[in-house]
């Protein structure tokens, strides 16, 4: 176990930034989101939840895939270069790290998504335990321990120190890079911090939410439930829940007319949007109820069916906080729970 004084974190950020890009929670215009560190950036490790999850680090909201350029009669196709520089994502919470594992299931399985794979290869995750979990958190429901986050390096903040524990080879390499800034530490303060976090998690109102009945075999029973017709009603069909979500992975591919050619890019899609999965022939989902149902069926039924029972919700609670109509996955799970007492 290593440690560094919180007041020296800037030196740590600076050191990492010398050789690799550093992506961490930065406060700007009143909100905290993951962004690249610069000398002027206001790093913010106090905010429990960034508005957007850090999934952008591996799966950006928008990225160019290739560019077509026309020169006279010739057409040049230039594939976008894959990520080839090492980078560090600092301060990811346990739920968000699990979110990356969910994305791995999608993008690293055959056929491998080369853009995502390159970022995963070059990215090192420094996770941070949740000092003060809140009432909207429910990671425990998905067996995530926010007191012992996964990641290449795990970190904890206790008193005036940040404690640092490498957990993988990549983590060891990063530790080596910053070793002169770290000092050896006892594990006792971290043990105490973990015990305090776990005690708080036990008290969170959603920590004991039951997922009974939600699994890969529940497709027909859940899909045909009349409850969806009631549950979707207040939905505004905006994409907030999907865009703040650490596991939503659907994307669309679009062309941007550059004037001299076309830039083909992909961007996050949202199952809440009317043209979601629209094909040349027709749209497979024609009503908002169907689109709303898709989001929850995907996370709690289809995904576990195809990924050995792994849910594609990690309980970060961002949708709970951000839905303009106060709809969320917890309310859906509870509504079904009431149906069969």
């Amino acid at each position: 176990m290593k440690r560094i004084k919180l007041e020296h974190l800037k030196a740590l950020y600076r050191r990492i930034s010398e050789t690799r890009a550093l992506y961490l929670p930065v406060r700007s215009a009143g909100k905290t989101n993951f962004a690249f560190w610069t000398e002027d950036a206001e790093a913010d490790l106090d905010t429990l939840k960034t508005v957007k999850s850090p999934k952008d680090a591996f799966f950006p909201q928008s990225e160019t895939l290739y560019t077509c350029r026309r020169e006279g009669q010739k057409l040049h196709v230039e594939p976008e270069e894959l990520a080839n520089q090492d980078f560090v994502v600092f301060g990811m919470k346990a739920c968000d790290v699990q979110g990356v594992r969910v994305l791995d299931q999608v993008f690293l399985k055959d056929p491998v998504d080369s853009f995502y794979a390159a970022r995963r290869q070059h990215g090192t995750i420094v996770s941070l335990a949740c000092h003060a979990p809140e009432e909207t958190c429910f990671c425990k429901v998905f067996q995530i321990d926010c007191a012992a986050p996964a990641g290449d390096v795990a970190a904890w903040i206790a008193a005036e120190y940040l404690y640092w524990q490498p957990q993988t080879e990549k983590g060891e390499a990063l530790t080596e890079l910053v070793s002169d800034l770290l000092e050896d530490a006892e594990t006792a303060p971290v043990d105490a911090e973990q015990a305090a976090i776990r005690a708080m998690v036990e008290q969170l109102p959603y920590s004991h939410l039951s997922l009974e009945g939600w699994n890969g075999n529940a497709t027909e029973e859940k899909f045909d439930s009349p409850l969806w017709e009631q549950l979707y009603k207040p939905c505004l069909a905006c994409g907030t829940c999907t865009f703040v979500c650490p596991t939503c992975q659907c994307y669309d591919i679009k062309d941007y007319d550059t004037g001299k050619g076309v830039q083909r890019y992909r961007c996050w899609d949202s199952c809440m949007y009317s043209d979601f999965t629209m094909m040349a022939a027709a749209n497979s989902r024609t009503s908002q109820m169907q689109r709303f149902r898709q989001r929850f069926m995907h996370k709690l039924v289809y995904f576990p069916a195809n990924n050995d029972g792994m849910y594609s919700c990690v309980g970060c609670g961002r949708c709970v906080e951000k839905c303009p109509a106060h709809l969320n996955i917890v309310k859906v799970i509870k509504a079904f729970g009431k149906e069969d007492p």
Binding site: S62, E134, V244, P324
Partner: protein, 324 residues
């Protein structure tokens, strides 16, 4: 609130209305959701308190297509939106029974959390019958309290009054919450240099994630299909293709609702990134007031709107050059 439930129940029972559009008790102490109630029994879950910020007038577009009348609970500011939708023939007055509900200012969870109040287990002081002076919280991290005023949505500080512009019946007390001038912030930005203005909006708008919550919640954005959702145009994007586009989306939207925006403030309430989107609309409202005389969209559904009617006294286009 019991009075409100009893009234709704009576109107459902005597057949005056077929359903009630209000808010349903949430799961947390502060997350009531807009909901339809179709039976008197279901009203046990009805709630109306300081956290019911959602403007239900836009839901009346869909409710107007249903059979029978819908009782809709509208706060004073919401009634302007309803009137504007009426003027645009998007809602049917005969299908609505408007229960004008009192308002003591609506609350912002963003502000409450920003004050450091977290792990909320219960809240008191947010009921309509409360004096709306102080909010008390029981949290996982101890007791906390904050002045009601400090937790109010921005729009409530510049409330244009607690009079309902349209209603069939009124219920519940209101409280004046105005303590700021609606155009102060606009004036502050007007006084900035072009570079400072650009920097301000760049910083704010670069947070935009294109979730479309502002558009979808907006009662003035009621096009059957939005140009930004149409696959026929390059404008149909789910992400900002470049740094200009993130501004373009919001500026186009502001132009589209100019003269029709009632300043209900829903855009800013729902923005997950806390972008003060209302500032665009308020700038237009301020300009309209200055160029054509004071006008409040939705105050009178039969009034001629300044941007859609012509008079010989209208401002000439060169006014733009003169004003800078």
């Amino acid at each position: 609130m019991q009075e409100l439930i009893d009234r709704a129940k009576a109107l459902l029972e005597d057949g005056t209305v077929r359903r009630v559009l209000g808010w349903k008790t949430g799961d947390l102490p502060y997350d009531p959701e807009p909901a339809y109630f179709e039976t008197p029994e279901s009203l046990k879950d009805f709630v109306y308190n300081g956290f019911c910020g959602a403007n239900l007038s836009k839901y009346m577009i869909e409710a107007s297509k249903l059979e029978g009348r819908t009782l809709v609970c509208l706060k004073p500011c919401d009634t302007y939106s309803f009137n504007q939708l009426l003027a645009e023939h998007r809602v049917d007055r005969d299908k609505a029974y408007i229960l004008g509900v009192g308002c003591k200012g609506k609350l912002s969870m963003e502000k409450i959390k920003a004050a450091g109040i977290k792990g909320i287990r219960s809240v008191s002081g947010a009921e309509l019958t409360d004096p709306a002076e102080t909010l008390f919280f029981d949290t996982l991290y101890g007791k906390a309290e904050m002045p009601y005023r400090d937790a109010m949505l921005e729009r409530c500080h510049v409330c244009r009054g607690k009079t309902h512009a349209v209603y069939d019946a009124l219920i519940g007390d209101s409280k004046d919450t105005t303590d700021a001038d609606r155009f102060d912030e606009v004036r502050r930005i007007e006084a900035l240099s072009p570079e400072e203005k650009f920097a301000f909006f760049q910083k704010e708008l670069s947070k935009c994630i294109r979730c479309n919550a502002c558009r979808n919640v907006c009662p003035a954005c009621s096009c059957r299909q939005c140009v930004f959702d149409s696959a026929k145009f390059d404008s149909a994007q789910k992400a900002n293709a470049d740094s200009f586009e993130e501004k373009m989306f919001h500026i186009i939207r502001a132009f589209d609702v100019a003269g029709r925006c009632t300043d209900c403030g829903e855009c800013s309430r729902v923005c997950p990134q806390g972008i003060p989107l209302h500032l665009f609309n308020r700038k237009f409202i301020k300009d309209i007031n200055e160029l054509y005389g004071d006008y409040q969209a939705g105050a009178d559904p039969t009034a001629k709107a300044p941007l859609t009617s012509f008079t010989l006294d209208d401002a000439e286009p060169n006014i733009v050059a003169e004003r800078g």
